[in-house]
């Protein structure tokens, strides 16, 4: 519908491509030449080698390297002369100071900002940076009332940050007119996003991705700096016994049940790790795999490979996505149990999906998938008591979608159902605050044995796990966030057997330890500089 309405606009705009290299408003950053000049001014290769110690990949698009990335995208390799020339063409006013913001509190970010500042000043662009405090989200992403002309509702000119979505489409879907604080309405982008988010066919997806990447990178809507890698570290005591490595921030077929650890003096296999709960167990619907607890306490319907491509059914006996990608059918395995021994039913899965629709902070792709279900809208606004698009018969669940979601299978590789009987009374707005999250009951290969909230968490194998009982006797998780500040201390002291980090400095230190090994993993996690292209007042 929308596409048909927008088509004439796209055509008109195609004529205007010549005009694109002009400032669109009073903000010089709306001029693509200025943005390109900034890109040329920064020597990302040197930064990658030195500051990032080679532990990153220089980016030439939002999208990480892989089949969905168009070969030969413009790279903007370091060329200060070109930068100066472009700035001259764009009549850059050298007295203007750009205001750059960021929200990380680590030393590396400050160092990177300092380096970028130095590079920019080299070509005659003044830039000052500051860390955002307080309500970061609002300061970054408040969209202007008038998405066409602005003025900008945020103060900054440049923002450094990262985007690491689960589905590649999300990299671009956020540029849709009215959603973002930085880009004036662009019909071409809108129309491409519409195609992107409604195509399930791989070939068609590739085509539109290529098109989109090319447009975004040529115009340099946003400057991708580098692709962050994740670094899995393991002690030499740990053996995955053939289990594969993959994106450690999400769930994949890592076969944790087969892992072994050198037994301790008592003959017990104990694996020490971090990301244990600090005040509560973070629920798995927002960060499905960032914490060890969410990985091993909960099970998913479908499994996927290390690159998160769906591969096989897991809790499901089988699954089937119809040709038009609008109907997904599962059948649950027989005899599935929660950790407390009660049965997992198909009815419970339905209740879970309905709850997920009402919980405000869940992972965006889950939200998208569920809200595309038939009758989801009616259920959300209260006019229906249940979602009509979910049909249950015995162990079989049939999901009918009103709209095609290219990531529907991905959702079910990450989304974990929860036991209904503990959460029946939950207020969706305070989902995370429910007492359940002090000692959750799940369906994964490990279950909670002892929670000592500020000291440690002990998890032991779930004796009725449907893929066999796990071999490691105890997983001990010490409390930390996903970027564990005490990682190096604890690893040197030998009290960490598994974990992952994105902190380059930590990786270097881990690599220097004889008893640890580090395995880099490519993840969709792009660090970039956003340009605020709206006019400011």
């Amino acid at each position: 519908m929308k596409i048909r309405f927008l088509l004439p606009l796209v055509v008109t705009l195609c004529f205007a491509t010549q005009l694109l290299a002009m400032p669109k408003n009073s903000n010089p950053l709306s001029d693509s030449r200025v943005r390109q000049a900034i890109a040329y001014a920064i020597d990302m290769d040197t930064i990658q080698e030195t500051l990032l110690e080679g532990k990153a990949i220089v980016a030439d698009s939002h999208i990480p390297n892989g089949p969905f990335k168009k070969p030969g995208l413009p790279k903007y390799s370091y060329d200060p002369d070109k930068a100066r020339q472009l700035l001259k063409e764009a009549n850059w006013n050298s007295s203007q100071e750009l205001d750059m913001v960021y929200y990380y509190s680590d030393q590396l970010t400050v160092d990177l900002m300092t380096a970028i500042q130095a590079y920019l000043s080299d070509v005659g662009v003044k830039m000052n940076f500051r860390k955002l405090e307080g309500d970061v989200g609002a300061q970054l992403w408040t969209a202007p009332k008038d998405p066409q002309n602005g003025p900008s509702a945020v103060k900054w000119d440049l923002a450094y940050g990262a985007h690491g979505p689960l589905a590649l489409q999300e990299y671009f879907s956020r540029y849709k007119t009215g959603d973002m604080s930085i880009s004036p309405a662009d019909a071409k982008v809108d129309s491409m996003i519409d195609v992107l988010t409604s195509t399930a066919d791989i070939a068609a997806q590739k085509k539109i991705f290529f098109e989109m990447e090319d447009y975004m990178q040529t115009e340099l809507f946003t400057l991708p700096l580098y692709y962050q890698q994740a670094f899995i570290y393991e002690s030499n005591k740990l053996n995955r016994n053939g289990g594969i490595y993959g994106n450690p921030q999400y769930n994949y077929d890592w076969d944790v049940t087969k892992w072994t650890v050198e037994p301790d003096a008592n003959g017990k296999m104990v694996m020490n790790t971090n990301t244990g709960p600090m005040e509560f167990f973070e629920h798995p619907w927002f960060n499905p795999g960032l914490f060890i607890t969410n990985k091993v306490l909960f099970d998913r319907l479908i499994s996927c490979d290390g690159g998160l491509a769906p591969t096989r059914p897991k809790m499901a006996k089988y699954y089937n996505l119809s040709k038009d990608a609008k109907t997904l059918t599962f059948e649950l395995k027989n005899g599935l149990q929660w950790h407390d021994g009660s049965a997992i039913t198909a009815e419970e899965i339905k209740w879970n999906i309905e709850l997920a629709l009402k919980v405000p902070n869940i992972m965006p792709i889950f939200k998208t998938t569920f809200s595309y279900l038939e009758g989801a809208e009616a259920f959300m606004n209260g006019s229906a008591s249940s979602v009509s698009g979910i049909a249950i018969s015995g162990n079989k669940i049939t999901l009918s979608f009103a709209q095609v979601d290219p990531n529907v299978l991905l959702t079910f590789t990450q989304w974990a159902p929860l036991p209904r009987k503990y959460l029946e009374d939950v207020d969706p707005a305070k989902f995370q605050q429910h007492p359940f999250w002090q000692n959750p009951v799940g369906s994964g290969p490990y279950k909670v044995q002892e929670v000592k909230m500020n000291d440690y968490l002990i998890m032991v194998p779930f004796e009725n796990f449907h893929e066999g009982v796990a071999r490691i006797d105890e997983i001990v998780a010490y409390p930390s966030k996903d970027n564990d500040a005490n990682l190096v201390k604890n690893a040197s002291a030998g009290s960490l057997d598994y974990g992952f980090t994105k902190n380059v400095a930590d990786v270097k230190a881990l690599e220097e330890m004889d008893h640890m090994r580090v395995i880099p993993a490519d993840i969709p996690y792009t660090r970039m500089v956003w340009f605020n292209k709206y006019a400011k007042n």
């Binding site: 989200g137 002291a493 009290s495």
Partner: protein, 319 residues
């Protein structure tokens, strides 16, 4: 005496009321948003403004100020310290869980610093002007001049990582059954915090002892022909201790403050750690309650110190 202390205790009430109001007022002015703590910044980027507003409303962040203050105060009076915004866990539970750790650390550090400070300070005063006195004074000064976290980190690298004498940090570990099992974990944080505080106690004991040794009653004691140790300790130190105890009372806030940084260095799961996390996460109720409770603790402890001073100094009973 009973009247004096009852009065002293009653006096705490308006004080605490004032403090509670100030704390609440102060924290209301924080620009932070609990959502920034609940969600990583990347995630907020993906949420729509109306979703953000709905989430704020649900968390009760939109009531008028005085209403929120009265609710809060009323809650405290009924023993309801509110709930952590992050987890929904009662704050009383969170704090109670952490109290043993902080109490352990601060009492150990307090005992250590008092014992060593008083002993070294007295030696310094008795050997005034000697090499011993001068080196103790200089060491004490160096001690208070090194930032505590550097001191802690170096101790950690040397004793935990290089020599492997002591655990690198944390408190309780799986398999610890007896209360004493985790004592090796306590050694380093308590020593580091204790040593930092020792310098102050030592310095103060020295000057108080010098003061006391210059008093007339010291000459009186000597004129009776009693041995020197008795003159110095039973008469000199005993009187010198009174201001030292008062000073330790004054330094209690410093002790609690010191735990904030030391707990971070040694992953000690105490109140300080909880507080830093709460500040970073702008978890208002938690920050408010911890501040309030720490001041209450300080006031109550100084009250106890007053009691102790009265026991040490018979002159106070008349007042």
């Amino acid at each position: 005496m009973f009247v004096y202390f009852t009065r002293r205790l009653l006096y705490l009430i308006p004080m605490l009321l004032g403090i509670s109001f100030l704390i609440y007022l102060g924290l209301e002015l924080t620009p932070g948003d609990i959502l920034s703590y609940l969600l990583p910044p990347e995630a907020i980027a993906d949420l729509k403004p109306e979703e953000l507003i709905a989430m704020r409303e649900a968390l009760g962040l939109n009531d008028p100020f005085i209403v929120r203050y009265l609710y809060w105060l009323g809650g405290i009076l009924q023993g309801d310290f509110g709930y952590s915004l992050a987890s929904g866990v009662p704050i009383s539970k969170l704090v109670l869980e952490r109290i043993p750790a902080t109490l352990e650390l601060s009492i150990a550090a307090l005992l250590f610093s008092t014992l060593f400070g008083v002993i070294l300070g007295s030696i310094s005063a008795l050997k005034r002007g000697s090499l011993m006195d001068n080196s103790l004074t200089v060491f004490g000064m160096i001690g208070v001049s090194i930032p505590e976290f550097i001191f802690g980190l170096i101790a950690l690298v040397v004793f935990a990582l290089q020599l492997e004498w002591l655990p690198v940090g944390k408190r309780l570990m799986p398999g610890y059954d007896s209360y004493w099992d985790h004592m090796p974990h306590l050694v380093m944080p308590a020593m580091v915090l204790g040593l930092i505080m020792t310098a102050g106690v030592m310095r103060y004991t020295r000057s108080s002892m010098l003061d006391s040794l210059n008093k007339e009653f010291i000459r009186t004691a000597r004129s009776k022909g009693v041995p020197e140790w008795r003159v110095n300790f039973i008469h000199g130190l005993r009187v010198a201790l009174i201001p030292v105890v008062v000073l330790i009372g004054f330094r209690l806030p410093m002790l609690i403050g010191g735990t904030v940084i030391i707990e971070q260095v040694f992953q000690w799961p105490g109140i300080g750690d909880l507080f830093v996390n709460a500040v970073r996460g702008q978890n208002y109720p938690l920050v408010m309650m911890i501040s309030f409770l720490s001041v209450t603790a300080v006031l109550f402890a100084s009250f106890l110190i007053d009691l102790l001073t009265a026991l040490l100094d018979p002159r106070i009973k008349l007042e």
